[in-house]
């Protein structure tokens, strides 16, 4: 296929073109349930942020199929180098809403120990979900290096690295794809083209015909997939992973999808997004699309959907309560994990600050708000 066609599996009416990739009933429902949990996580975080209980979150409405379809193709021994918008991949692989909520509140149980902003998750189990970084694009060459290590040791694992349309302009995109292709590293580059990079539309991000075509610059296959079609995403990923595991090297997948909300909970997209765009894409909602498919298999009813969403809301609401009630990280966490062992000068700074707190009381929290 040329890079301009869109790979799709589920037709708008829910029928398919036959490339369902053999998921069992349970697996199909796991995908569906995960998509609803992403939506529930989103809705919960939005409320938490609006009521000032967390500082920031990243909406995922519209991109659930991308993430879940792609994640469904991975083995637990593969590595995920996620972007900050990849809730679906985490949830698909069994990272719990509670683990994620600890990070949203930056509390003592946060795996990042309250050092990162919300949505900057880091997990090693049940799958390698590599610590998310804010600087865009840095994780692409990192994924290539991790994949090179797999190849050098003769393992049949692969790495998935996920990023946005904006991420294709980053330095890491260029060096990551180039090194991967030269080394034939077992890595899949997933560009989730959701139409926007904060307020920058794709037309101002690049003049190329598509994002997938950028693969040509590196000598690797590039495929364009309907990112709102969970089964198409799964198929494209499976093909790319087979290719990688067989030693043929990397693939660039462009998932064409849409960010139906703002960039983040602090963004006001009405300043720059044309209204008609949102309306058009609302019709292509990936959850509704998958529901129509499931209905053709007699796996879906409106009631089931409502029930699963309600369950997810309950689970996630409970997680939020627990996370909110968890203490903040202890002061010591400022000074640990800079190095494997705390060096002289940092130990002294820590001790001085504990001592000052004993003498003069604690520092008081500010009221700064995150802007974007």
């Amino acid at each position: 296929m040329t890079s301009q066609q869109l790979l799709s599996v589920i037709e708008p009416d829910g029928s398919t073109n036959g490339h369902e990739s053999g998921l069992s009933k349970d697996e199909l429902l796991h995908c569906y349930r995960t998509m609803l949990r992403v939506r529930a996580f989103d809705d919960t975080c939005m409320k938490l942020q609006r009521s000032g209980r967390i500082g920031f979150s990243i909406p995922n409405k519209g991109v659930e199929a991308c993430q879940v379809g792609a994640a469904s193709a991975l083995q637990k021994t593969d590595w995920i180098f996620p972007s900050y918008r990849d809730f679906g991949m985490a949830l698909y692989h069994g990272i719990t809403p509670l683990d994620m909520m600890h990070n949203m509140f930056g509390n003592a149980n946060d795996s990042a120990r309250g050092r990162q902003m919300p949505v900057h998750f880091s997990f090693v189990k049940p799958i390698r979900f590599v610590s998310i970084s804010s600087p865009i694009g840095t994780h692409l060459p990192q994924a290539v290096g991790a994949a090179y290590a797999m190849k050098l040791r003769g393992e049949k694992h692969a790495a998935l690295v996920s990023f946005g349309d904006g991420g294709t302009s980053s330095l890491g995109f260029h060096s990551g794809l180039n090194f991967a292709a030269v080394w034939k590293a077992p890595v899949v580059f997933l560009c989730q083209n959701n139409g926007w990079a904060i307020s920058c539309p794709s037309s101002e991000q690049t003049a190329s015909e598509s994002y997938a075509i950028k693969a040509k610059a590196y000598g690797m296959p590039g495929v364009r997939v309907d990112g709102n079609d969970v089964l198409a995403m799964r198929k494209a990923m499976l093909d790319a992973l087979d290719h990688a595991r067989a030693g043929h090297g990397p693939t660039l997948i462009e998932a064409v999808t849409y960010r139906m909300g703002g960039h983040s909970t602090s963004d006001d997209p009405t300043r720059y997004v044309p209204k008609h765009e949102v309306e058009e894409w609302t019709k292509k909602d990936p959850v509704a699309r998958f529901e129509r498919f499931l209905a053709t298999r007699k796996l879906w009813t409106k009631e089931l959907g409502e029930k699963l969403y309600a369950e997810a809301m309950e689970e996630i609401g409970a997680a939020a309560k627990l996370a909110e009630a968890t203490a903040p990280p202890p002061l010591e966490t400022i000074f640990s994990d800079v190095y494997a062992t705390v060096p002289q000068h940092i130990r002294k700074q820590g001790e001085a600050s504990f001592e000052l707190a004993r003498r003069k009381g604690d520092a008081s929290a500010g009221d700064g708000k995150f802007p974007l």
């Binding site: 050092r115 865009i136 694009g137 302009s169 690049t206 940092i346």
Partner: protein, 324 residues
Amino acid sequence: MATLTLVQAVNDALKTAMRDDPSVVVLGEDVGPKGGVFLATEGLTKAFGKGRCFDTPLSEDGIIGTGIGMALNGLKPVCEIQFQDFIFPAFDQIVSEAAKFRYRSGGQYTCPMVIRTPYGGGIRGGLYHSQSGEAYFCHTPGLKVVIPSTPHDAKGLLLASIDDPDPVIFLEPKALYRQVKGEVPEGKYTVPLSTLRTVREGKGVTVFCYGAMVPVCMKAAEQAAEKGIECLVIDLRTLLPLDEEGVLEAAKQTGRVVVVHEAPRFCGFGGEISALIAENAIEYMEAPIARVTGFDTPFPNTLEHHYMPDARRVLDAIEHVHGY
């Protein structure tokens, strides 16, 4: 005179410069229709058109690299880096190129440009939306490094930076963007670079600070005054080229010095102030030269208020050097 916040003063400066000089252009991520994530560039595209204020693809290397090219060829680019933490992809362009063009070409090619970027903590931004990287730039000959702490200075220093024939890194204390308000003259005026501002007179202890630490130090100085210690508080404003004579004079006035910044201590800007004094005025010192700084760790999130120097910590240092 209007009463503006610091970020409004920045916006006012940009508008003033663009109105006066058609060669001034503003570029960066989301600076166009959105007006920047802090709204520093709000309204510029509308007022001056897409050719003068425009969004770029997501590449800081591209923003600064093309900015340098514009500066070489007669424009005056004001590049915005969305957060100072994201300036590092452009570090090569800044350090290897903008800073060295004049020198390496014997003055044939020059880079009059301004790189504006919000820096520092206080917004719960964690590791990557809170850093203070001034020391990296201050160790780079060929750059100028400017940090305002009031709306008045923000406008006057930014206009002076845009007028300057050399590349200026203009670091805006994001914690103060909306926290401080002040009177700002209309139209064009400049605050000369490489001049200090005496925020408060005092004969007890000299406190050197800049950016978001200025109000923190002022609070500490007031608390110190209640205890009978009068502080001379100096807002450095331009870190490079620094008014070294002015610094030494202020240090000599009290013989007791506290240097304050948010950035990590080790190899930070404060060390340069201490070293300058230890090299040129040590015989005037009656106490250790104290530094109150961020810790030598990355910037945390939940506990950021413990990481950033506060009046409590500054006061403790003032008392320490005073009682020495």
